[in-house]
Structure formats: C-alpha cells, structure tokens
C-alpha cells in the first residue's frame, strides 16, 4: 500500500462553478507551491468541468506547474460519482504524495469518497499544513518529509498534528480563508494535460433535477471590521446590538458556533475553524469565550476588543482591549460612544 518511492507531487482539486474557480482552490495552490518547494516537487491542479479549458491558465498563474484537465459534458456540474471516478483513476495511476481539497460542500463530499477508494488518510478542516519528519517509536524508524496536518481537536482544547506515514496520498481539506492566495503571476508557465475520462454506467446513478444557489450577502472575509457575538450575548434580541454596532462601524456581523447553534444568527456568519477565517482591522468579540476553533478564525485580526463577564475567558489572552462586563450593557456604551464620535 505504501508508495512513498513514487512522485512527491502536491495535488490540488480545483473547484469551479460556471467557469469561476473557487477562492479556496486558489488559496490551496499558493500553499501547495510552498509545500512543493520544500519537497522539491511540483504542484498539479485537477481541473474538472465542461468547456473550462481556458481556466487552466488561471491555475498556472496561481501556482500550478501542471494541470490535469478533464473537460466533458458529464462533468459540467459537480456530482459525486463522475468526479470521484476521474479523480480516483488518476490518483491510482499517478500516485500523488499530497492531495489537498477545499473543505467546501463539494470538497467535503468528494475527498472522503476518494480517500476511501484508494485507502488513504484524510484530515478535515486543517488550520495549518507543514512538511516535517515523523519518528515512529513503535516501528523505530523515521519518516522524512511528511505532511503535518494540523487542526484543533478534542473540543478545541488541543491542537493535534496528524500524520499519514504510509497510506498515501496524504489528503487534507482546508476551509476557505485559512490559507492566503498569491497574486496571479502571468509569467508563470506550466503544462496542461487533457485526459479523456472513462465512466461506467453506475457513475450516473444520481441525476440532478434542479439546482438553486443564492448569493450570500454576508462578506465576512473582506470586511474591515467584524463584530461577533457568542453564547454570552444571551438572546436573539441582544444579538440585535451586535448587528447595530457592526452596521455603525461599516462592518460585518460574525458569530461563534455557539451563537449559530443557539439560532441567534445564520451559519454563514460563523467565524472559526468550521466557519470563515477573517483578518479584519478590528474584531470585536462580544460574549465569546474564545475556544481554539473560534480563535483559529480570527486571531490574526489587527486589533481585538473582547467583552466578557468572565475575566478568565481565553479570549482575553489574545485581546488588545479587555472589557469585563455584560454584553448587553457594554455594547450600548460602544454604540453611544460611536454615535457621539460621528456627530
């Protein structure tokens, strides 16, 4: 099963919809470039779709050295089985060393299917990826240059580094916004290889009857200011204060998972490991205790204001400004101060 004598190439699944490459795929290309440099190998983008050949150039400009392209009417819209068929065939044939996918609904549907078929290890929602050695005490041997798949674990109190010593490819998914994309470089060159997919009848067991997408009007990633509320906000009514403050600051509303689960706000507002990663100029955390999964999504903010009743809440350890108090009292003060400021 082990095949580390083979290629050390780093593969990235390029997710595209209607000719638009997903942001997360461009971010992964940048990370893959970094990993491939350490490994002295190549980045290969897997581009599937129909009439999407011209996107290969975009893949190369963002860090691809090679593009494996499947352009076929059956691949026009994402469906698990046809996409998995092509990816699995290629993984078996080319034996990549590392294979990265976005932790999007598509990536989370496809990655485990591939991992199961080729019996590879897969780690979901990584917050960091590095190359390093792994000493197996049991086997008394050192595995060189493995992929460290780093993610919070055990309810977020710990950060685990996961490795997959032998059953390659080393597969990982990463949420959008965790890695940073490169600016496109028009001088980059690469090889485009088009492969004719071979399907079987059972790959078409599922038909899409209709599809409806709604654009999100939440733009957390690009917001200069994020005001986020957590369980400590206490109620949906109080959450309106979070929204008011965000609006006044020209920012976006964020939330911890607890606030989303409590129904204060929809899931697209969730900041953190399983939500969106943000790096705003100002992040205001109201009633958020600061579990590591949440911090993973906001700790690189330039300035952090934290409001919490518990003076020992972990969020205070990364905050620049600590306000110990009730959210429902402090937020109105902030709103008032801001209104007076802008008068």
């Amino acid at each position: 099963m082990s095949n580390h004598a083979d290629s050390r190439d780093v593969w990235v699944f390029i997710e595209q919809e209607e000719g638009q490459i997903a942001e997360v795929s461009l971010e992964l290309l940048a990370k893959a470039q970094e990993l491939a440099k350490t490994l002295n190998s190549q980045v290969c983008g897997l581009l599937f779709g129909y009439q999407i050949r011209e996107l290969a150039e975009t893949v190369i400009r963002h860090g691809g050295d090679r593009v494996l392209l499947a352009d076929h009417p059956e691949l026009e819209n994402y469906r698990t089985l046809p996409y998995a068929r092509v990816a699995i065939d290629w993984v078996r044939e080319r034996k990549p060393y590392i294979f990265l996918l976005g932790a999007s609904p598509v990536g989370r549907d496809l990655a485990p299917r591939i991992a199961s078929a080729v019996r590879a290890g897969l780690t979901a929602d990584c917050t960091d990826l590095q190359i390093g050695d792994y000493e197996s005490k049991k086997e008394k041997r050192v595995y060189k240059d493995l992929l460290y798949q780093i993610r919070p674990a055990f309810g977020g109190n710990l950060i685990a580094t996961i490795v997959n010593p032998t059953m390659h490819p080393q597969m990982a998914t990463v949420r959008e916004g965790v890695m940073r994309r490169h600016e496109p470089d028009a001088t980059r060159t690469g090889v485009v290889e088009e492969i004719e997919p071979k399907f079987e009848a059972r790959d078409f067991a599922l038909k899409v009857l209709s599809r409806e997408t709604h654009e999100s009007n939440v733009n957390l990633k690009g917001a200069p200011v994020v005001v986020a509320g957590g369980a400590g906000v206490g109620s949906q009514e109080n959450f309106q204060l979070v929204q008011d403050l965000a609006h006044l600051l020209g920012g976006e509303v964020g939330a911890s998972r607890a606030a989303v689960d409590a129904g204060y706000v929809t899931r697209e507002h969730q900041v953190g490991q399983t939500g969106v990663t943000v790096r705003p100029r100002l992040y205001i955390a109201a009633g958020i205790s600061g579990a590591v999964q949440h911090r993973a999504g906001m700790q690189e903010s330039s300035k952090i204001i934290a409001i919490n009743t518990d003076p020992n809440a972990p969020i205070f350890q990364i905050a620049h400004y600590k306000i110990v108090g009730e959210v429902e009292q402090v937020l109105p003060m902030l709103i008032k101060a801001l209104r007076e400021k802008t008068k």
Partner: protein, 301 residues
C-alpha cells in the same frame, strides 16, 4: 403516489462528548479536558438521520435498524433509538476497533451493514460534533459501492427503486433523483427529531447488551444470574446484540489502529501568546476613551 414497496432503513449513529456545552469547569487547571464533566450524548445530526428514517417507515412501511460503534456504554444511544421507535439496534463493540480513524470506522460499518443484508437506504448525520469531519458517511458509501447524497434535507419521494431527495447547503439547494440503495447524510435543518416516547421508555427500560449484564444485575437483584437475565431479555426482544470484529467478518488489518492511515503525531496544549493588552473599564467614560483612541489610530473610520 406511494408505491406498494416497503423500504428497509439502516441508521448509523454515534455517541459523542457534548462538546457544544463546554463550560469552564470542563477544563482542568492543566488545560486538558475533564471528560467526566462532559456528558455523552446522541450526536445531534444522527437524531435527524433517525427521524428521517422513522418518517420513511411511517410513510412507506419497512424497518429501521440502528447501528453504533463504540465502547459498551454506547448502548445508551441505542436505547435512545429504541425509545424513539427503532425496530432493531446493534452495538459494534470490540477492543480491536479501538483507535479507528474515519477510514477504519467506515470499513467496520460497511461490514456490519453487509451482515444486515437487505437494506434500501442508509442514513447518517452529516457530521459528528466531536470531530466535525463529515467523512464517515461518504467513506461508508464508497465501501458499499453506493451513491451518496450528502447534506440531505428531505426525502421528497420514494417510488420503486428511486428516491427523490432535496439537499440543502449553506449557499443553495439541489433536488436529486437517485437509484436505491443509497446513503444519505442528513443535515440538522432536515426535521425536528421526535422526543422519546413515554410508552417505549417503559417497554425498553431493561434493554441491554450482554456487556451490561453485570451492572444490570446489581440493580436488579430479582434475577439470580446472568443466564436468567439473558433468557428473560432475549424472550422479550430486549437483548441488544453486540457484534465483534469476528462477527462481522472484518479483516484485522483494516480495523482499529492498524487500519487507520492517520496517526496523531503530537498534541499541543494551546499556548496563547499574550498580546499586549489593556483593561478598559466597562463604563461610558472608559469606552468613549477607547473609541477616541481607535479613531486616532485609524482603526475606526
């Protein structure tokens, strides 16, 4: 439009620590988790999966079989499934399963589902709250050679060997038609899981796996021996079967730690870099001064 066909459903469920309700007393002083302070619960989206299967049975007929893999104490979620109306429950438990990652878990589940045999639909929750990987469903589907429908929000219609399913994503919806058998991973918005029925709670109060007999005997002195208890439970359909690795014909190199490609290399306690920080008094004056400072530094425009 209902057809005469009945549908047999298998539901995969998991007992998880209640990570959503981590409170400060769930943390020990050294930063590790105090597992005792975290109650073990029925993974929330697995309850949605069970509910969807129960509704299929109510509308079309058929059976609902619930499987979980875990330690002996995981029988608790199987009883919870019986209280809600499952026809049959099975515990996969064996020390050889220990340390399984998602790949090894999906292989064991695949073996168990194949042992059950006749099934039309396999349901599981979209993801478990202890790991959030959402991998076991698709991996199990692949191992069974089934199509998968992740993010399933409702079973719109079943007719003959075809299902029409609505999927719900954060950013859209999709209506799909799929041939049976297939595997569905169910989202939390799919339905409102029913509470345990009071009548079934009484009916299945004694339901237990043989792994729990010793403990049960302590509470039930009226049974003179494990054999007597076993005979009593078996006669009343209250004996929850436990399947071992051998029972499901699992190859040993594909289960537990040995069958898991991923290994935890190291675990770090989260060390928070102490940021240069300032306490701001929670008063109108203190907060006004903070705002002025942020404006001066061009952080607030």
């Amino acid at each position: 439009m209902t057809s005469a066909r009945k549908y047999n459903c298998v539901v995969l469920v998991k007992q998880v620590p209640d990570t959503h309700n981590v409170t400060s007393n769930a943390m020990k002083d050294d930063g590790t988790m105090n597992r005792a302070a975290l109650p073990a619960i029925f993974n929330p989206e697995d309850l949605n999966a069970l509910e969807m299967a129960l509704q299929v049975r109510e509308q079309y007929g058929g059976t609902v079989t619930v499987i979980t893999m875990g330690p002996p104490s995981a029988a608790e979620v199987l009883r919870a499934a019986l209280y809600r109306g499952a026809d049959r429950v099975i515990l996969l438990s064996d020390k050889k399963f220990a340390g399984a990652d998602t790949l090894a878990t999906s292989y064991a589940l695949k073996c168990a589902i194949e042992k059950i045999g006749a099934y039309d639909l396999v349901f599981c929750g979209r993801q478990a709250i202890d790991g959030d990987t959402a991998q076991v469903g698709p991996q199990t589907a692949e191992k069974l050679g089934l199509p998968q429908i992740t993010y399933a929000d409702s079973v719109v219609n079943l007719e003959g060997d075809e299902a029409i399913i609505e999927r719900a994503f954060p950013m859209g919806n999709e209506l799909v038609k799929c041939t049976l058998p297939c595997l569905l991973t169910v989202v939390g918005s799919a339905n409102q899981p029913r509470p345990p029925s009071a009548r079934k709670r009484i009916e299945f109060k004694l339901a237990a796996t043989p792994l729990e007999y010793r403990e049960l005997l302590e509470r039930r002195p009226e049974f003179p021996s494990e054999e007597a208890l076993d005979a009593y439970l078996a006669a009343r359909n209250l004996k929850i079967p436990v399947w071992s690795a051998a029972d499901i014909g699992a190859e040993e190199d594909k289960i537990g730690l040995a069958g898991s490609p991923t290994q935890v290399y190291k675990v770090n306690f989260v060390v928070l870099e102490t940021t240069e920080s300032r306490q701001v008094p929670a008063t109108q004056e203190g907060i006004a001064a903070l705002m002025q400072e942020l404006v001066r530094e061009y952080i607030v425009g």
